[in-house]
Every structure is written in structure tokens, then in C-alpha cells.
């Protein structure tokens, strides 16, 4: 049998996977094991594949995601907490041929930004919202977000989230599925290799909806936050698989 050395394999013509050039070549500032890094790469890969980098404008809100503009090698706006869908509206209506997407956490898009996100969906804004759901406001220390699970302990629900007092976890992609202006609403997760690949496909589908001028598209991505969950990164991902996916079903809720 032909024996091949490592050096013989590691040649440019044999390259099958490397981090896309649409990501700036420097270290990411996220915590070890943070789901943001995975999603950033998926988004960048889709934009790379669709060859739309020159006309792509990203909008970021406030949270750990605030740092995301430092990662992408294309134009970005940093706007106030919760307002990305409004600013994205401003950008898309100013430059309708451009490709406009928001990158937000669940606290940003569903708490303070609920009105902005909802109304962009209602108006059928031809933008794509990428929402990272880790159930907490991670950047500020892990306070409860609207997506926190019943009984989930966070620093503002130290006895566990009590649905009688603050309601239950918010299922947003399902909520907007009946709004006529919404062309695509889906939920995916980056808790396993298989799901990560599926997430990339959902993001690509959402971006194609914008290309087709079909309406508002949203992809919610369940991610782990090892720091706030206080779990080692592999265990944090397992927690997403076991607990988050149980509460928040993966799938496409509307595809017009």
C-alpha cells in the first residue's frame, strides 16, 4: 500500500477546508468555545459563496455580538442596543440593491429590540436577521433574557425563572411565521457538526430570500455560552443539545 507522509498531504492542491478570507486574519476575542465564532464563519462562508461581499452591509447591535464587526472583512454599522432591524431598514431602503443583514443576540433582538425586529417583519423589510439565542444577556454578566427556560438560574433569576412571574421562554421564529411580510423564518443550532452544517444551509436560504426580494428573513441560531452556563465548552454544547433543542424545536416555520 502506498504510504503517504503528512508533508505530502499538506499541499495547496489538497486543501479542503480553511477559514474564509472574508474573515479578518486575527484572533477572535470571544470566550473559548463561544458559538459566535462558528456562526461568524458560517455567515462569512455564505457571503463568500454567493459572491456578494462588495455589496454586503452588516449591522450589529449591543452585546457580545458588538465585537462581530471586527471579524468580518466587509462594511458594518454598529447601532444602539436593539435597533439593528431599524437601522437595517434605513440602509436597505437607501441601497436596495445591496445585501443587508443584522447580527444580534436574543437579548438585543427580542428584548429591547422587540418592536424594531417585529416591525421590520411586519413591513416585510427585505433584510435578513441572524439572531444568536443563548438565553441570556451574556456580555453584561448573564442576566435572564426573554428566551430563558422555565426554572433557568441566571443572575436575575437566582431561584430559577418563574413563569408565573415573568412568563415562559419566547419562541420568536414561530411567532412571526404567520406575518405575510416574512419570507423565511427558521431555527437551527450550532451544537454539533451535523447541525452546524444545517445552520449554514439555513443561512444561505435566508440570504437567497433577500436576493429574490421575497421579504423579511430570520434565522435563530441556538448557541452555547460556556462562560455564563458555567460549563466546559463541550458540556455547554451538550447542554444546548439536551435542554435548548428540547425547548426550541429546530426547523423552518415559514418558507414563502
Amino acid at each position: 500500500m502506498e504510504v503517504i507522509t503528512r508533508e505530502e498531504i499538506i499541499k495547496p492542491e489538497n486543501l479542503v477546508y480553511k477559514k474564509t478570507g472574508l474573515m479578518v486574519d486575527k484572533a477572535l476575542s470571544y470566550c473559548p468555545g463561544c458559538g459566535h465564532g462558528i456562526v461568524h464563519r458560517l455567515v462569512a462562508e455564505v457571503i463568500d459563496k454567493m459572491l456578494i461581499r462588495e455589496k454586503t452591509i452588516g449591522i450589529v447591535g449591543v452585546g457580545c455580538s458588538s465585537q462581530s464587526w471586527g471579524v468580518f472583512n466587509f462594511d458594518f454599522l454598529a447601532v444602539p442596543h436593539g435597533r439593528p432591524c431599524s437601522s437595517a431598514t434605513g440602509v436597505k431602503r437607501s441601497l436596495p440593491a445591496h445585501f443587508v443583514f443584522t447580527y444580534q443576540g436574543d437579548g438585543d433582538a427580542y428584548a429591547i429590540g422587540m418592536a424594531e425586529t417585529m416591525h421590520a417583519a411586519i413591513r416585510g423589510e427585505k433584510i435578513t436577521a441572524i439572531v444568536i439565542n443563548n438565553t441570556v444577556f451574556a456580555m453584561t454578566g448573564g442576566q435572564m433574557a426573554p428566551t430563558a427556560l422555565n426554572g433557568q438560574i441566571t443572575c436575575t433569576s437566582p431561584a430559577g425563572r418563574n413563569p408565573g412571574a415573568t412568563g415562559g421562554p419566547l419562541h420568536f421564529p414561530e411567532l412571526i411565521a404567520n406575518i405575510p411580510g416574512v419570507a423565511y423564518s427558521a431555527r437551527v443550532a450550532v451544537d454539533s457538526v451535523a447541525n452546524i452544517r444545517k445552520s449554514g444551509q439555513a443561512i444561505e436560504k435566508a440570504f437567497h430570500k433577500q436576493e429574490q426580494n421575497a421579504g423579511f428573513s430570520l434565522v435563530e441560531i441556538l448557541t452555547s455560552c460556556p462562560t455564563v452556563f458555567n460549563l466546559k465548552p463541550p458540556e455547554a454544547m451538550e447542554w444546548v443539545s439536551k435542554e435548548l433543542v428540547k425547548e426550541f424545536p429546530l426547523g423552518e416555520f415559514v418558507d414563502r
Partner: protein
């Protein structure tokens, strides 16, 4: 009996609120004040005193929750930091227009915009000149120690209800985050329904046969009525200016030069004063405690005594304008400040005092 504890500034505010019988807190996470909300959640006053603690979906929602609670005559409060306080401005203006008591805590961070999470004092204009729309004022208290963070909560509520006006505690990330010993007061019970009716007969508590209905609004389309209303607000503010000015003077009796500073800048300048005095420079410090009403008279008085005044504040020069107004050209007034979250050192202040004021 009073209780002595080593506490963080943010936590001292929350503990003081529980102890002074506050009825409700509505907040939202933002650095550097999230501990205010977290401490209350951890202490669970809703299980002991019945105090409501709710994390709102945004700072706008929170201030409007405060508006609602205030209409009911309750002792309600909220907290945030600079960008979140900007969001609250509409609600604050409404509270002032509708003559509602309430407490708003601003743990200032660097701005403008998202700025930085490090300390700053650059919300002075916003706090004292009315960050919201219309002719109104906030009574503004500026603590310079963790003890004052605790003391100003019951004081703030007292003044808010005395004048039926929102009150702001304007602090910064230094005092919010640092730890000092605090003497905590005894627990005071929350007001009963009867007490509320007596203290705030205007409150919406449900129209009973013994009184007319209570409508709380800040709208009046009849201009002559609206003018009367706004003039009555002005009378309130004149009363505040007459009765509620608070300040601290250190080493001013024989001072040849004066430093004016508030909050954590005042703590730094206290050290600068010691350093300067050790070098034979007769400098005094005036620390405004109420930023509105501003201690114009004591500053005007000292302007007749000193050769120059240095205003030290972590911003591009905001309180210095009020100092200049009070001094009215009598002596030179200069500003020194660092921005971006940088905190000046005591030695830096002494150097500026020497070059800009003394002229060495």
C-alpha cells in the same frame, strides 16, 4: 441599631432602597450598574418587604413602569448608565410634567454613543439642564462615597415626594464599583395604602366616593392652563433652589485658590488639595452635592476671596459653565478633565492647578 458593612457602591444603593421601604424597582442590564438589579434579585425583597423587582425589556419600558408605579403614589425607582438614561428621557420629562415622584440612578460611563464602560462625568448637562424635552428640572444628587450612595436613596425619595418631581442620583463607574464601609440604617416599612392616600392624595388608587377622580397627565391643550402649569413647576424649582442646595467645603477659609469638583473627581481632588497644601499652596475644595440646585451662592462668595478656580470633572467641560455663571467674571475659571474613561491622578490635577491657575 445601625449596621456596618463593606459594600460596593451599586449594591449599597439597592440595600438602601430595600431599607427605606421602596415599593418597586424596574431595571435593565447595562455595565457598570447591572449589580443594582442583580443584588435586588438575589436579596429577594419581594419575599420580605413585598418590593417589586422586575427586569424590563428595555430602559424605555422600565421608566414607563416607574411612571405607572409613581402614579399610584408608590416609591419606585430605576437605574441605568448613560445610553440607557438617554432612552429614559421621554419618560423623565413626562414624570416632571405630570409632577410624579421617583428616583432615577445614573451610573455614568464614557460617552457619547456606546462610548466605553469605564467611568466618566459627561452626563452633567443631560442631568442638570434637562436631558428630556420641555421646561423642567431634575433635582440631582451627586454622591462621592459608598456611604452617600446609600444615604441619598432615602433622601432622594424624600425630596421626590416633597416636590412631586423626579430626582436623579448621578454617580459614576468608580463609585458604583468600589467598595467602602457603609453604615446602613434600620429597615423602614413600606407605606400602607392609607399612608399613600394621605401623602399623595393625587395618586390613582381607585376613585372612592370620598373624592373626585384622579387623572394624571402632562397634556393640556388649553395654552393659558398649560402656562399656569409650567409656571407652577417653576415655583417648585425656585423653592428647590432656596431650600435644597447641598455642598461640602474643605479648607476654604484661608484658600487663595479653589477647586470645584463633584463625585469621584472630588475624591481625587481631595488628595490633590493635600499634596498642594503640603507644597504651601493654599487651595480649598468645594464639592457640590446637589448639581441641581447648583451651589451658586457659596461659589460666588468664594470667588470674592480666591485668585482663581479650577473645575475638575471627567468630561470636556460641563459643570465649569455653571461655575463660570456663578463667578460672573470675577476671577479666572479653568477646566481640567480626562475623557474616554481615563481617571486623572491627584498629581495631574496639582500640575494643572499650578500651570493653568497659579501660572507657574
Amino acid at each position: 441599631m445601625k449596621e456596618l458593612r463593606l459594600m460596593k457602591g451599586n449594591e449599597a444603593i439597592s440595600e438602601a432602597a430595600i431599607r427605606c421601604g421602596a415599593d418597586g424597582y424596574f431595571g435593565y442590564p447595562i455595565t457598570p450598574q447591572s449589580e443594582i438589579l442583580e443584588y435586588l434579585m438575589a436579596e429577594r425583597p419581594y419575599e420580605t418587604t413585598g418590593m417589586v423587582v422586575l427586569q424590563a425589556e428595555s430602559e424605555v419600558a422600565a421608566i414607563n413602569m416607574v411612571y405607572g408605579g409613581a402614579c399610584c403614589g408608590k416609591k419606585v425607582w430605576t437605574s441605568s448608565s448613560s445610553p440607557g438614561i438617554s432612552l429614559k428621557q421621554e419618560g423623565i420629562s413626562y414624570m416632571a410634567g405630570a409632577e410624579l415622584p421617583g428616583l432615577i440612578v445614573n451610573v455614568v460611563r464614557g460617552g457619547p454613543g456606546l462610548g466605553t464602560i469605564q467611568p466618566s462625568q459627561s452626563d452633567y448637562f443631560q442631568a442638570t439642564k434637562g436631558g428630556g424635552h420641555g421646561d423642567y428640572r431634575l433635582l440631582v444628587l451627586a454622591p462621592a462615597s459608598v456611604q452617600e450612595m446609600a444615604d441619598f436613596v432615602p433622601l432622594g425619595f424624600e425630596l421626590a415626594f416633597k416636590y412631586r418631581n423626579p430626582v436623579m442620583i448621578l454617580t459614576d463607574g468608580v463609585i458604583g464599583q468600589m467598595m467602602e464601609k457603609v453604615e446602613l440604617p434600620e429597615h423602614k416599612p413600606r407605606w400602607t395604602a392609607e399612608e399613600i392616600k394621605e401623602i399623595s392624595p393625587w395618586a390613582t388608587t381607585g376613585k372612592t366616593p370620598d373624592r373626585e377622580r384622579n387623572i394624571i397627565t402632562s397634556l393640556d391643550l388649553d395654552s393659558s392652563k398649560q402656562e399656569k402649569h409650567v409656571l407652577s413647576l417653576e415655583r417648585k424649582y425656585s423653592e428647590m433652589e432656596k431650600n435644597e442646595v447641598r455642598f461640602e467645603k474643605l479648607n476654604c477659609d484661608d484658600a487663595e485658590y479653589l477647586i470645584v469638583a463633584f463625585g469621584s473627581s472630588a475624591r481625587i481632588c481631595q488628595k490633590s488639595m493635600e499634596i498642594a497644601r503640603a507644597k504651601g499652596i493654599k487651595v480649598g475644595l468645594l464639592r457640590p452635592i446637589t448639581l441641581y440646585p447648583f451651589p451658586k451662592l457659596p461659589i460666588a462668595e468664594l470667588a470674592g476671596q480666591v485668585k482663581g478656580i479650577l473645575v475638575v470633572e471627567m468630561n470636556l467641560g460641563q459643570m465649569v459653565e455653571d461655575v463660570r455663571l456663578a463667578v460672573n467674571g470675577k476671577v479666572p475659571v479653568e477646566h481640567f478633565g480626562r475623557c474616554g474613561g481615563i481617571i486623572p491622578t491627584p498629581e495631574e490635577v496639582v500640575k494643572i492647578l499650578k500651570t493653568k491657575i497659579i501660572g507657574e
